[in-house]
């Protein structure tokens, strides 16, 4: 098999894996938009906040230590415990639920029936508030995150492909785990929304707020629920991206990677987020591989948006988005 074809296959596989990571971020946006019509600008910051909280809990860091020490002249930094990744994830998930409750009760409950742009602006404010809160709670330093996920080249795939083609493919173990976790997450979400009472209520709210209210579904509960799920998805995305780069402010910028995925897949479709992520991941990686060297490289950021725009021309609602019908 020609080398270039082998390389292209390797790039394609890595593009699929990268796409799953993009889809994980996009999923959080979709969940909230679907249930409440809010485009949550703070989704990237939620991933950062969740990852910072997870590291802080696992390492027994005292939250707001700098503030406490400055105010009371103490020298507190750590509680002295080290927790496992699993316990840390459970505790962080509880904190994300508490955050969801606080966000709903302090902000969005007061903005019911406001224009979408007002709700969007509120999430911008929330994003900046959470950025500062995260720094104040856990500090701005870069933190190593290790919840036990394997990283580095998958030896089995390397060996098998080398035996078959004479060239071993590089697939990162972390990406494989991300794919498995994303698949489990999506299946769990689908089962939840299809077969549980709360899930059906969530779908009812997504279809029609007022009709859902008229049959006794609590909008407040559903919003807290959906922000909690989005918080958990943010935690999963934060773990995956934070394991790759360390937990740091730049994690909040991964939201930029989700935007073309949303444009392509649609803002209201969970399968759309997944398929959109895969198309963007594969498209940008293959374009960088084939065309990048001819135009100086670093094409991925802009190509993802160009690809999304191309899809928008033909399907403005995205591949799986709901067609907007306005009756006059």
């Amino acid at each position: 098999m020609p080398d270039q074809l082998l390389f292209a296959m390797e790039v394609l596989l890595n593009g699929l894996m990268a796409g799953v990571l993009y889809a994980l971020v996009a999923l959080g946006f979709v969940l909230i938009y679907k249930a409440s019509g809010i485009f949550n600008y703070a989704q990237g910051v939620m991933a950062l906040f969740a990852a910072m909280t997870l590291v802080g809990i696992m390492e027994g860091q005292v939250p707001f230590a700098h503030l406490i020490n400055a105010a009371f002249g103490t020298d507190l930094h750590v509680f002295g415990w080290q927790l496992s990744g699993l316990v840390g994830i459970v505790l962080t998930a509880l904190i994300m639920i508490a955050l969801a409750w606080a966000v709903n009760h302090l902000i969005f409950r007061h903005l019911v029936n406001q224009e979408p742009i007002i709700l969007f602006m509120a999430t911008i404010g929330l994003a900046y508030f959470m950025e500062g809160l995260g720094d104040l709670m856990w500090g701005a330093d870069i933190k190593k995150l290790d919840v036990g996920l394997p990283q580095g080249i998958n030896g089995w795939i390397d060996t098998v492909t080398f035996d078959a083609f004479g060239y071993g493919f590089f697939i990162d173990n972390l990406d494989i785990w991300a794919t498995v976790i994303a698949a489990v997450l999506v299946i769990a979400l689908m089962i939840f929304s299809q077969y549980s009472k709360q899930g059906r209520a969530l779908r009812a709210v997504a279809d029609d707020h007022q009709a859902a209210l008229s049959v006794g579904i609590s909008l407040n509960f559903i919003w807290v629920l959906v922000w909690s799920i989005a918080g958990f998805v943010a935690l999963v995305a934060g773990i995956m991206w934070g394991t790759k780069s360390g937990v740091q402010f730049s994690l909040s910028l991964i939201a930029l990677k989700a935007l073309p995925v949303l444009m392509l897949g649609g803002f209201t479709s969970i399968p759309g987020a997944i398929v959109g992520g895969l198309i963007i991941g594969v498209g940008e990686k293959l374009f960088e591989f084939a065309i990048g060297p001819m135009v100086g490289g670093a094409t991925e950021n802009w190509f993802a948006y160009v690809l999304a725009l191309l899809f928008l021309v033909f399907r403005p609602q995205g591949l799986f988005g709901e067609r907007l019908i306005e009756r006059v």
Binding site: F7, E10, V11, N14, A18, H66, N69, G73, E131, G132, D135, G139, A140, D141, I142, K143, K144, L145, D146, Q151, G152, I153, F170, D172, W241, K244, S245, G246, Q248, F249, S250, L251, L253, I254, K257, K285, E288, F289, G292, G296, G297, A298, E300, N301
Partner: protein, 426 residues
């Protein structure tokens, strides 16, 4: 009562600092994507100034005043900080950002205030006959590119004609700085250069590292900042690239960059223009007079890190230039013009550094009217992941001036022509 209050407010508004204070603005970034790097640098810068105030009563008996202004590593905010602080009697700006430096070059030159872009900024500012108010000693980006190639030459007995070298760089003006130098050096030494840009912020670099895995360059040089560094080092680990063949510029050589990759980052190399670690007498004084006294700029937890050391070194070079100016003009209080002259006559010797509690901390160099960049000496540090520390593995060595000087002359003369500057000493 009302009159008293109005008078007090008016007095507060018009009063600047005490006229005799030596004012050093600190354009810091403690928030945003680069805060993890901005915090230790600013802490080191301010703590050294505080040490001089607390231990020595300032410089030559004149107290130092540091005005901190948050830029968030944002060029517009950096310029705002400059405009907001220059009227306070600012003697010198060290913006810790190439973007801000480029914006300040014309402004500071017009205002007669010196700028010191230590290891960043516009490389050709080394030509002091064109850039009268801009200094970039002791080393610049082009020196760094040359240092990396010299190190590779030294590791290969001077013959790198058959080697492939890849540059992984931040796709910005900063990241593109070494390209011309590396291209010129490849003509001289015969190596094959490949360029791999990474878009900001650099969170996703799979394509670049798959290409490195396919092409197997003998060495990878990195020009990164922020998250790009951590991701690149992790990706290098993932593809099992030999870390001792991976060399970063000094802005890719802090603890922040290597710690997330854990022990796998062992052996990674980075260039530097100053020494590292905390095994220097000055640290005893910093603990005694600054940290333990509760006067540290930050949490006091950054002492000895690479970027804290760099901030402290920047402050030391600033205060030594101020001392030089005081001696030159026989005055304690300084004007920005006198500070500029002090910088232009700065000479750092080993005896001077040892007396400051920093023996062998930086290279010896002398600044002159025509050479605002010093002697371009640099060294290579290597990361020991088990000990979690950097250590120098070479002495300070020079850049290839035979290649660099014509580039600096060409670039600075083009700037002079564009801006109607007649080159010459002030």
């Amino acid at each position: 009562m009302k009159k008293v209050l109005v008078s007090a407010v008016a007095a507060a508004l018009v009063a600047g600092p005490a006229a005799a204070d030596l004012v050093f603005p600190d354009l810091s970034y403690r928030t945003g994507p680069y805060a993890a790097n901005g915090i230790p640098f600013s802490d080191g810068y301010q703590d050294y100034m505080t040490l001089l105030n607390e231990r020595d009563g300032g410089i030559g008996g004149e107290m130092i005043k540091v005005i901190e202004c948050e830029t968030g590593y944002n060029t517009e905010k950096g310029v705002e900080c400059y405009e907001a602080t220059k009227g306070e009697g600012a003697l010198l700006y060290q913006p810790l950002s190439t973007g801000i430096t480029y914006q300040l070059i014309p402004k500071a030159t017009a205002d007669g205030i010196p700028v010191h872009s230590m290891g960043y900024g516009r490389t050709s500012a080394k030509n002091g006959e064109v850039f009268h108010n801009i200094f970039n000693y002791p080393a610049n980006y082009w020196d760094g590119a040359s240092h990396a190639i010299t190190q590779i030459l030294n590791e290969n007995e001077g013959d790198i004609a058959d080697l492939k070298i890849a540059l992984v760089y931040h796709n910005s003006a900063y990241g593109k700085e070494p390209i011309r130098t590396l291209e010129e050096l490849s003509k001289k030494h015969g190596y094959e250069l490949s360029l791999l840009p990474v878009d900001s912020p650099g969170q996703e670099q799979k394509s670049q590292w798959l290409q490195i895995r396919r092409e197997r360059p003998d060495y990878v040089i990195m020009w990164g900042w922020g998250v790009m560094n951590q991701v690149a080092i992790q990706e290098a680990v993932n593809i099992r690239y030999p870390m001792d063949h991976f060399i970063g510029i000094w802005w890719s050589g802090s603890e922040n960059d290597v710690l997330p990759a854990g022990e796998a980052a062992d052996g990674y190399k980075a260039l530097t223009f100053h020494n590292l670690g905390s095994d220097y007498p000055v640290y005893d004084d910093l603990k005694k007079y600054v940290v333990d006294a509760g006067k540290a700029a930050g949490a006091g937890d950054q002492l000895g890190t690479a970027l804290y050391s760099r901030g402290m070194y920047a402050a030391m070079l600033a205060t030594e230039a101020a001392r030089t100016a005081q001696d030159m003009f026989d005055t304690k209080a300084l004007t920005p013009a006198q500070m500029r002259d002090g910088m232009e006559n700065l000479e750092m010797t080993e005896a001077k550094m040892a007396a400051l509690g920093l023996p062998n901390f930086g290279p010896e160099f002398k600044v002159t009217c025509s050479n605002h960049g010093g002697d371009g000496l640099g060294a290579v540090a290597q990361w020991d992941a088990k000990a979690r520390e950097w250590s120098l593995i070479t002495d300070y060595f020079p850049a290839d001036e035979e290649v660099l000087n014509p580039l600096i002359t060409a670039d600075s003369m083009a700037f002079a022509e564009e801006n109607n500057i007649t080159p010459g000493c002030m």
